[in-house]
């Protein structure tokens, strides 16, 4: 169960404004996404070993 009502609904808006903040903003958005994916794959790799 996800307790969405307790989460900050502005979180998504922060990411959207990075996307809408011009080329540099888009790069920042891609960086955050890349870092997340990297962390996730690292965590998955660790749990597999």
């Amino acid at each position: 169960m996800r307790f969405i009502a307790y989460l900050d609904a502005g979180t998504g808006s922060m990411l959207v404004q990075a996307i809408l903040g011009g080329t540099a903003g888009l790069i920042v958005y891609l960086k955050t996404t890349g870092r997340r994916l990297f962390r996730r794959s690292k965590a998955t790799g660790n749990s597999e070993t």
């Binding site: 979180t11 959207v16 404004q17 990075a18 809408l20 903040g21 011009g22 540099a24 960086k31 955050t32």
Partner: protein, 453 residues
């Protein structure tokens, strides 16, 4: 000053609270609020914003409570659900302009609500100095979502979908959510702002997580230039929006024959009455295109042009912005369903009568709409009018008047309140008012009423 004496519209901000007493507006700041205020005051451009009329003036005063600011009073408070399209648009542009200017000074606005803007006549002014605070490194614009919900989505809904935003803002003080905006605008995806600010945000809303996005963005190199790029984009988007409605129920009313022929003598009577003494605040109820509001504008400090038709008032607002007078403020409000108290305990946003009393009320060609059109008993209407305690210019429109008959076209015998009769009207008026003067005009009667008490 006790906690109970604060204005109920300001208590949500823990760092800055406002009290309004004896015509003085004071803001009490906590230590945090005081530090933010000092950062604002130290900004080299601060005084230029005040001088340009964009930001309310502030004066530090000595008080027991700590740091207190005193602001000039706003002649009459109105809320976004009482504004026209053009007024909300002007308020949005003011907010964006101030935010961009603040960012250039290393400051930001911690929220983005139109309730921080008031209109002095037709000029919007930002009133919440407590919204400014220093911008932290890597911090995004925290008010973007609120800006969308309370400024952008209502404007897009009107401009793209032809929807009236006033009932939506009155129904939810937080504005239109991204999900609701998507539902309203899903058929307009190719129009400006819909894919980017509505669809994208509604999608992001569905994927909300407990991630610390603020830190993630900061670590990834988020800079204020990105906020400025977003603001610049929004300024272009908002300024190009138009509400292109051609006509409404009352948009052509002024060109009706009976209105055209009676305008001049009515305006003369109204000016005669209004000019008997200097008026501070005049309410023109059922103002339509503002003809009588404008007629008394030079005889009063402030005039409210109140009407339920947002289109005629939007045209009035734009005409006033172009040509003046500058002391007439359009207010979109259906008199048969006026703005109630809203928000926490119904006290954050006040009823019309709680925000200030007029010293003169114009009620011209309105009574038949309220009694025949909206089914309000005449007794109710006149009793309410008396509660205002003001002088009144009241126009009696008899049941046999062509416009009364038009309103009654689809009503059967006995479906109009029995008290809609001249004799009863005179008796009701006499209960509460002294008739100082009356003028007969093609079957209609203009009364100058003075309250008895």
């Amino acid at each position: 000053m006790t906690a109970g004496s604060y204005d109920r519209g300001s208590f949500r901000d823990p760092t800055s609270r406002v009290s309004i007493h004896s015509g003085r507006v004071q803001r009490v700041l906590t230590d945090r609020g005081g530090a933010d205020w000092h950062a604002l005051r130290a900004a080299p451009s601060y005084m230029s914003w005040v001088d340009a009329g964009m930001l309310v003036g502030s004066e530090e005063i000595t008080a027991d409570q700590g740091l207190v600011l005193e602001h000039p009073t706003i002649p009459f408070w109105t809320y976004p659900y009482e504004w026209t399209f053009g007024m909300l648009q002007e308020a949005a542009l003011l907010h964006l302009k101030l935010l961009a200017a603040a960012l250039a000074e290393g400051l930001t606005l911690k929220d983005a609500t139109p309730y921080n803007v008031q209109f002095v006549g037709t000029r919007p002014i930002f009133i919440d100095v407590g919204s400014f605070r220093p911008l932290e490194a890597g911090e995004p614009w925290l008010g973007y979502r609120q800006f969308c919900q309370l400024f952008l989505y209502p404007l897009l809904a009107s401009s793209h979908a032809g929807l009236s935003f006033q009932p939506l803002l009155r129904g939810n003080l937080e504005g239109i959510t991204p999900g609701d905006a998507r539902a309203i605008l899903s058929g307009h995806k190719r129009k400006p702002g819909v894919l980017t600010d509505v669809m994208l945000q509604a999608r992001a809303d569905r994927k909300v997580t407990s991630r610390d996005v603020r830190t993630e963005l900061s670590e990834a190199g988020f800079k204020k230039e990105m906020i400025l790029a977003n603001i610049s984009r929004l300024e272009k988007l908002v300024s190009k929006l138009e509400w292109s409605q051609d006509s409404s129920t009352w948009s052509e009313y002024a060109s009706c024959d009976h209105v055209a022929t009676q305008r001049t003598p009515k305006a003369e009577f109204v000016r005669e009455v209004a000019g008997q003494t200097r008026r501070h605040l005049v309410w023109d109820l059922g103002a339509n295109d503002g003809h009588h509001s404008i007629a008394v504008a030079d005889l009063a400090d402030h005039v409210l042009a109140i009407d339920g038709d947002a289109l005629v008032l939007d045209r009035l607002f734009k005409a006033l912005r172009r040509e003046g007078p500058t002391n007439v403020l359009p207010v979109v409000m259906d008199l048969s369903n006026p703005s109630p108290g809203l928000g926490w305990r119904g006290q954050e946003r006040k009823r019309l009568e709680e925000r200030g009393r007029p010293d003169l009320v114009l009620m011209l060609a309105v009574v038949h709409h309220l009694v025949i059109g909206a089914n309000l008993p005449l007794t109710e209407v006149i009793n309410w009018l008396a509660t205002l305690g003001s002088e009144v210019v009241f126009e009696w429109v008899p049941p046999e008047d062509p416009m009364s008959k038009k309103l009654a076209t689809n009503k059967r015998a006995g479906e109009i309140h029995a008290d809609y009769h001249e004799d009863i009207c005179r008796n009701l008026l006499a209960e509460h008012f002294v008739v100082n003067d009356e003028r007969h005009l093609e079957g209609r009667i203009l009364f100058h009423l003075i309250p008895r008490s």
